[in-house]
């Protein structure tokens, strides 16, 4: 199939591994899904920090379960990317280790306090889920299929994240102030989560023409702001002065001053050139190496068994 025919036929779950697809499509889909899979890995690695800091056993269990889910999502996504025939799973994981694999801006900032848990687990995850829900209608069928399972699980993450926010904002004044300070720091990054404005997006048009994306960056950001700003306010958080965001009652939209955001930092992050990116990628790589013995002993155990063993 050539690109023109593909664009005509593009629609939700239109293409699967049995279709003969042009290289442009397969490369664009690989780039998008690999980015998504890398983000699940790096988000999971970031998130595991919260298990240590969680103030109760229930929270620790939920945080651990969430990390387990995220790493599982990465597996599903690498599988969906691999079926495009451009890169193998091993190649994609190696690129991530070498610092060449790209991933979401919010996961380039190391976290070190429990006050950051609702930033990641409620706002960032909420944004991710909004985006993922639209990807159930992506044109690459294995990607859409992975989204069914991912979205099934994400509801727990977002509600758990909101529950942490509710708990912290209903506790001492010192806690509420710390959450507000953390929110001031994270909010601009969260607004940038959906990427640059449509006019500056490199890949948006092509991805929409071939049905990989069904919704633009700006539309997603608008939907996110409409749902999540009222939530932040409900718990007593105040939006920082910048970026300026005005609610327009006439259109029912939040108007964002894009120029108030630090796009230079955003693009540095997008190239993995931000100084803390190297920290995140490196610490994840060292941890991956540190538990190599677990993978090796599991492989050795599996090959020594006569009958296949089901995983728990």
């Amino acid at each position: 199939m050539d690109l023109e025919e593909l664009k005509e036929r593009a629609g939700p779950r239109a293409f699967s591994p049995k279709d003969d697809l042009p290289e442009e499509y397969r490369k664009a889909a690989t780039r998008m899904i690999q980015f998504h899979a890398n983000s699940e890995v790096m988000g999971g690695y970031l998130d595991k920090q919260f298990t240590r800091q969680a103030p109760s056993l229930d929270r620790k269990l939920a945080c651990t379960a969430k990390v387990q889910d995220e790493i599982g999502h990465a597996q599903l996504l690498y599988r969906a990317a691999e079926t495009l025939g451009v890169k193998t799973r091993e190649e994609m994981l190696e690129e991530l280790e070498r610092g060449e694999g790209k991933f979401l801006n919010c996961f380039h900032y190391p976290v070190d306090s429990w006050y950051e848990a609702p930033m990641i687990d409620f706002f960032v995850d909420g944004g991710a889920m909004r985006r993922q829900a639209t990807l159930k209608a992506t044109s690459w069928e294995p990607y859409a299929h992975a989204m069914d399972k991912v979205c099934f699980e994400e509801g727990f993450h977002v509600k758990h994240g909101e529950d942490i926010l509710r708990e912290l904002m209903g506790s001492s004044r010192a806690n509420r102030e710390r959450v507000q300070e953390t929110f001031d720091e994270w909010w601009p990054r969260i607004v940038q989560f959906f990427g640059p404005p449509n006019k500056d997006s490199k890949h948006n048009d092509f991805a929409q023409q071939v049905g990989l994306k069904t919704t633009s960056n700006d539309e997603l950001r608008q939907a996110f702001l409409n749902a999540y700003i009222p939530k932040a306010e409900k718990y007593g958080l105040e939006l920082p002065d910048t970026p300026r965001i005005e609610y327009d009652e006439h259109s029912g939209r939040y108007e964002l001053e894009y120029d108030d955001l630090d796009w230079e930092e955003f693009w540095t992050i997008a190239k993995n050139d931000y100084e803390r990116s190297a920290e995140q990628i490196g610490s994840r790589r060292r941890r991956h190496e540190a538990v190599a013995w677990v993978r090796e002993s599991m492989d050795a155990w599996e090959t020594s068994q006569e009958t296949p063993q089901a995983a728990d």
Binding site: G155, V158, K159, D163, A227
Partner: protein, 106 residues
Amino acid sequence: MIWEVFRQAKPGKYHTHCGNVHAPDREMAKLFAQIQHGRRMQTNSLWVVPQEEVSEVDSDEATFGGSTDKAYRWAMTYNRVDASFAAEVEQSEDEQREAAKAREEL
């Protein structure tokens, strides 16, 4: 000869064990299973299996998981926050609730 019988209520559902029948051969076992286990309960399909073909591992020999309360894993647990502000969160919770119901029905 004893044959263990498994009944499936609807297409796509699991076959679950529902009892056994005495029969001299496979054809008779299928017939008896129909009469004894497929008449009163809603049935889409039956399996009959020679009893000696069923292998067992029990809690004397193995440590099974599944006894841990994993309520922390489900969106429904966090009922002090409301999912209705975002359609995708609400839908995920609905799917999880459906799945929990289906597990209980097994």
